[in-house]
C-alpha cells in the first residue's frame, strides 16, 4: 500500500498506446512530505501523515506551524494519512515515482455540491413519466412515502429530496495512463470526484 495527495487540474483526452482515444483526468500529485510517522507503540496503528501544497506562514495556525517545523518543511495546506508498506522517515519526500503507467489506483475526493435536489436527480427515481392522464404538475414527484394509520409514520431512511453532493467518495480501480515525473503530473483514465483545484487522495 502507498498513496499520495493530489490536486485535480482538469480533464483532457489522449490516444493511449493501443491507439484508443481515452478521456483522462490531469492530477498534480505531490511532492508530499512525511510530517508524522505513526507507530503501533505510540498511536495504536501504523501510518504516515503526508502534507501537500505550500501555504503562507501567516495563514497557518500556530500549532500547525510547529508541526511542520518538526518535519523540517514549509507550511502546507493539506494533510492526510496513508498506510505504507515500506517504512519512511520524518521529512522524507513522496512523489509520483511511486506510480507507474498501467497501475490501478483508488481515488478519494469530495464530490461537487449540487445543493437541494429532488428525488429524480438525487436517487434516480423515474418520476411520474407522463404529463397528461391527470398528472397536473407532479412530473418529478416522489409518490407515496408510506402506508396510513399503520405505521402512522414515515419509515426511517426513506429516500427523499435533500442536499446532494459534497460527499467524500472513492472511485476504485482507475488506471494510470501517464506519469510525468518532471512536472509531478499523473493522468488517470476517466473521471475523479470533485471540482477543479480540489484535493484528491490517490491510493495504490
Amino acid at each position: 500500500m502507498s498513496g499520495i495527495i493530489g490536486k485535480k487540474l482538469g480533464m483532457t483526452s489522449i490516444y493511449d498506446a493501443n491507439g484508443k482515444y481515452v478521456a483522462c483526468t490531469i492530477i498534480q500529485a505531490g511532492p508530499c512530505v512525511v510530517t508524522q510517522v505513526k507507530t503501533p507503540e505510540k498511536d495504536g496503528y501504523s501510518a504516515l501523515q503526508l502534507a501537500f501544497d505550500d501555504r503562507k506562514e501567516k495563514n497557518t495556525p500556530r500549532p500547525l506551524l510547529k508541526h511542520f517545523e518538526k518535519a523540517g518543511t514549509t507550511p502546507k495546506r493539506k494533510l492526510a494519512e496513508f498506510q505504507f508498506d515500506e517504512p519512511k522517515q520524518l521529512g522524507e519526500i513522496v512523489d509520483v515515482s511511486i506510480f507507474s503507467e498501467g497501475d490501478y489506483v483508488d481515488v478519494v475526493g469530495t464530490t461537487k455540491g449540487k445543493g437541494f435536489q429532488g428525488v429524480v436527480k438525487r436517487h434516480g427515481f423515474g418520476g411520474v413519466g407522463e404529463r397528461t392522464h391527470g398528472q397536473h404538475d407532479r412530473e418529478r414527484a416522489p409518490g407515496s412515502v408510506g402506508a396510513s394509520s399503520d405505521p402512522s409514520r414515515v419509515l426511517k431512511g426513506l429516500r427523499m429530496a435533500g442536499r446532494m453532493g459534497n460527499d467524500r467518495r472513492t472511485i476504485q480501480n482507475l488506471q494510470i495512463i501517464k506519469v510525468m515525473p518532471e512536472k509531478n503530473i499523473i493522468l488517470i483514465k476517466g473521471n475523479v470526484p470533485g471540482s477543479k483545484n480540489s484535493y484528491v487522495l490517490i491510493k495504490k
Binding site: 487540474l9 489522449i14 512536472k183
Partner: protein
C-alpha cells in the same frame, strides 16, 4: 486555464506535421482503417467546416456531399490514424466556422478560391497545438 495546465496540454499534444489549413479549404484526409489485423487507407475529401478546441483535443470537421447526402466527419488532429492530409484547394471565406454551407447546395455552395495565397505558409508544418 492555469499556466501549468496549458504546459501539460502542450506536452500531451502529439507532434504531428500536417499542412496548415483553415475553414473553407478543401482537403483530403488519408485515414487508416483497421479491418481485423489488416490496415488500409481510406481517403475523405471535403471542405473544412470548422476547427475546434485547443491541443490536445483539437479537431476539425470535413464536409462533403456524397450521392446527394451531406456527410460530415470529425477528425482529431492528434489522431495516430491520420496518415497524411493533402490540401486540395484554398477557399476564401470570411468566417472561422462556415456552418452556412450546410444550407446551401448547387451553385451557391461553391467557395471562392484564395488566389494570392502565400506558398510559404503551406510548407511550414504545424504541430497539433
Amino acid at each position: 486555464m492555469s499556466k501549468l495546465l496549458e504546459e501539460i496540454k502542450k506536452e500531451l499534444a502529439v507532434k504531428v506535421s500536417h499542412p496548415e489549413f483553415k475553414a473553407g479549404d478543401t482537403i483530403t484526409v488519408h485515414y487508416k482503417i483497421k479491418e481485423g489485423d489488416k490496415e488500409r487507407i481510406q481517403n475523405f475529401t471535403g471542405v473544412v467546416i470548422q476547427i475546434k478546441n485547443e491541443s490536445p483535443t483539437r479537431t476539425f470537421t470535413v464536409r462533403k456531399v456524397a450521392h446527394g447526402v451531406g456527410v460530415e466527419r470529425i477528425f482529431p488532429f492528434n489522431s495516430p490514424y491520420i496518415e497524411k492530409i493533402d490540401v486540395v484547394k484554398r477557399g476564401k471565406v470570411r468566417r472561422a466556422r462556415i456552418y452556412y454551407v450546410r444550407n446551401l447546395s448547387g451553385k451557391s455552395a461553391r467557395i471562392k478560391e484564395r488566389i494570392n495565397f502565400k506558398e510559404q505558409e503551406q510548407t511550414t508544418p504545424v504541430s497539433a497545438e
